[in-house]
């Protein structure tokens, strides 16, 4: 599955590559995907086949790992609309596929979900899941639990009415649809079973939005879903509240910028916790919810750990949603802290935004997030540490009036970025979620936009925006090896055992995923779209250009 396991730890039990020999890592195979957009997500290895989904046009490749040169067994080219390119807010990305029951299941940018026979590449079903005309696209990787395929839509910049759906794995038929905001009936929230740990009440998902603004309130699902089989709960984060001017949606705006726990069978909402009440800063909470059993104050806890865009790392009790630990993992100015008793952030009033406030300066983190939700962390049960990329960017935020025109952006903000303190624009860090503290940090010159992998060999892997793929010692952060992979890395590394019994590590190169990040001068394929560099990052195009490549490394 996309995150290795239901707990979303991105931890591999393989230890053939370890801190002692990782300096000998070398590339053993590459493949150009023929696609230029940002290569987020990760390859999927099932048995002796590696599956790769590209950004739009969402080609699915199946490589035969038994044969020299890994030739294709087949490739599947879905019928996908090019109109989706203008509806995807930020880039035409795809975050990966899921294997279940002999099927590869994934989503198309234009709002379809497909199941493909894993052996033949034949399309088994195709369901229209999202409404492109309404500003909905799909970039997330689905999660399959039993007979349910769980899917959500992007569109926080288009004022969608955010939702999560379950499709039937065999037929693709939609089984349930749950809204992430709005009245209880739409949210599949029942008073006897919905028990939020802090703020509740009947129809709070509608009443916490002035003037029925929930109807265009966003709260998309473009990140990751995890699952606890014992508790029978799926966990997922919701995106920003729309539009970017918070003054037209007075109230907490529940449950945008939140984590929701639902029953996968029925969709029923069990609890919800909001990281950023009344989101003023585009702080999506769509980053991964990693499930780990931790010791908090000496007490064993079934925990959920989340690195939010808003700069705080949260450790929650995943049975109840109650907050246990919250601490900043990057520079934060919008709030001073998070109050454990109420679960609410202690806001700095000077960083509240809105049309009436004009340009608000010095907001950290930027709306790109202290980590992008598309860059998931990893957790090692050996080191008891979490590993994540981070961004060190701040912003000014000038909210503007926005008009809701169906299928066009519903944004309204001018948000120039600035480098955060310290001189580096990003980092890769190890985090102790039991105590809320950073253990080590490897600084990076550019925002760090890749996911993390950690293995039983105590090696952590990540890629950089200027195109290095790195292996570091999971206990110290010491660099073990690096290789220049041809384009900036925004994908997620995986480890697998090949048919020859050896351990391999795979990663996508292919800068993209966010046009503000890229400035557009890393693009070379369109002579009619020639842009200046971003003023906070003038030389990224000196080191990388667009281009999708699959890399495999081994000893």
């Amino acid at each position: 599955m996309p995150a290795k396991n239901y707990a979303a730890t991105r931890y591999s039990g393989l230890a053939l590559i370890n801190a002692q020999n990782a300096h000998s890592l070398r590339p053993v195979w590459t493949f150009s995907t023929g696609v230029l957009a940002g290569h987020e997500g990760q390859p999927l290895v099932v048995g002796e086949t590696m599956y790769v989904v590209t950004p739009w046009p969402n080609v699915l490749y199946a490589f035969d790992l038994r044969q020299e040169g890994y030739p294709l067994r087949w490739k599947y080219r879905p019928d996908v609309s090019s109109n989706a390119l203008g509806i995807a807010c930020c880039d035409a990305v795809n975050r990966g596929a899921f294997y279940a029951n002999g099927q590869i299941v994934y989503n198309l940018l234009d709002g379809h979900s497909v199941a493909v026979d894993a052996r033949s590449g034949r399309e088994l079903w195709k369901t229209t899941t999202a409404d492109l005309g309404n500003g909905e696209t799909i970039t997330m990787a689905p999660l399959v639990v039993g007979e349910r395929v769980i899917v959500g839509a992007s569109g926080g910049e288009f004022g969608i009415y955010g939702w999560l759906k379950a499709l039937d794995l065999k037929t693709g038929r939609t089984v349930w649809t749950a809204r992430n905001l709005g009245p209880d009936a739409d949210m599949l929230a029942r008073p006897d079973t919905f028990k939020p740990p802090y703020d509740g009440g009947v129809d709070v998902g509608a009443k916490s939005w002035a003037n029925d603004s929930w109807k265009t309130g966003g709260a998309p699902v473009w990140g990751w879903i995890s699952y606890d089989p014992q508790l029978d709960l799926i966990y997922y984060g919701t995106g920003n509240a729309a539009p970017y001017d918070p003054e037209v949606r007075v109230g907490d705006n529940k449950w945008s910028a939140s984590v929701l726990a639902r029953r996968p069978g029925s969709g029923e909402l069990v609890w919800a916790y909001q990281f950023t009440p009344h989101d003023n800063w585009d702080y999506d909470a769509t980053g991964a919810m990693v499930l780990a059993d931790l010791l908090i104050g000496g007490r064993p806890v079934k925990a959920l750990v989340h690195f939010d865009k808003n700069g705080f790392a949260y450790t929650l009790d995943r049975a109840t949603g109650r907050l246990l630990v919250a601490a900043a993992y990057a520079p934060v100015t919008w709030a001073k802290s998070v109050d454990l008793a109420s679960g609410r952030p202690v806001i700095d009033p000077a960083r509240q935004t809105g049309v009436s406030k004009g340009k608000v300066t010095g907001v950290c983190p930027s709306l790109e997030g202290a980590v992008s939700p598309s860059s998931p962390p990893a957790y090692s049960p050996r080191t008891h540490l979490f590993y994540t990329s981070t961004n060190n960017l701040c912003m000014d935020y000038g909210a503007a009036h926005a008009s809701h025109l169906r299928g066009t952006p519903y944004v309204g903000a001018d948000t120039p970025y600035h480098p955060g303190p310290g001189g580096n624009l990003g980092a890769f860090i190890a985090w102790d979620a039991e105590n809320g503290r950073k253990v080590w940090e490897d600084k990076e010159s550019y925002p760090s936009w890749s996911g993390a992998l950690v293995t039983a060999g105590d090696v952590a892997f990540y890629g950089t925006l200027d195109g290095w793929f790195k292996a570091v010692d999971a206990r110290s952060g010491r660099l073990l090896s690096k290789f220049k992979v041809g384009s900036g890395v925004v994908g997620n590394p995986i480890a697998y055992r090949g048919p020859d019994g050896k351990e391999y590590v795979a990663i996508y190169a292919g800068i993209g995923g966010d046009w503000a990040l890229l400035a557009g001068d890393t693009r070379s394929d369109d002579p009619t779209d020639v842009r200046s560099p971003a003023d906070y990052m003038k030389d990224i195009a000196r080191h990388t250009s667009q281009g999708g490549i699959v890399w495999i490394f081994g000893l």
Partner: protein, 155 residues
């Protein structure tokens, strides 16, 4: 006020007209289109469509361009093309380069009828007058002088 009502009011203010639907941009014609000259036939899409050459009633009018800047934000153009048309998920409109031509009439067609890869057709919402207002703004954007070359060498 509903967003739609606010938009309508804004349009009235900017366009100075709150009349009904705008007339079609070009006069329909039953006569055959003019023949394509040899020099023109390799430049497919680079010539104005038959049915009349459009002319911008507000060409180079700075006051109209200023209204167009507001309309550019109000119609969410900046959501795709970036503030000041500097480029975002949609292409830059401020680099002097054009996929579908940069003459006023060509920019008009792109906005009025839409383009592939996600550019919506705004003719129905804005009418001719609104589209010309946007065209006037977009054509007023200053084009940087050194677009083709980016250099990191010390001079």
């Amino acid at each position: 006020m509903s967003p739609a009502a606010r938009l309508a009011l804004l349009s009235c203010v900017i366009l100075g007209s709150c009349a009904g639907p705008a007339p079609p941009p070009a006069t329909a014609s039953n006569s055959p289109p003019p023949a394509i000259a040899y020099e023109a036939h390799v430049a497919a899409g680079g010539i104005a469509p038959p049915g009349g050459v459009l002319s911008n009633p507000h060409e180079a009018d700075a006051a109209v361009a200023k209204g167009g800047a507001q309309l550019f934000t109000a119609m969410n153009c900046d959501g795709c093309h970036g503030g000041g048309g500097s480029g975002w998920v949609g292409p830059s409109l401020a680099d002097g380069r054009w996929r579908y031509g940069g003459a006023d009439a060509e920019v008009f067609s792109s906005i009025y009828y839409g383009r592939p890869k996600g550019m919506p057709a705004f003719g129905g919402v804005l009418g001719s007058e609104g589209v010309w207002t946007l065209v006037t703004y977009i054509r007023s954007l200053p084009v940087p002088s050194n677009v083709p070359t980016e250099s990191w060498e010390q001079p």
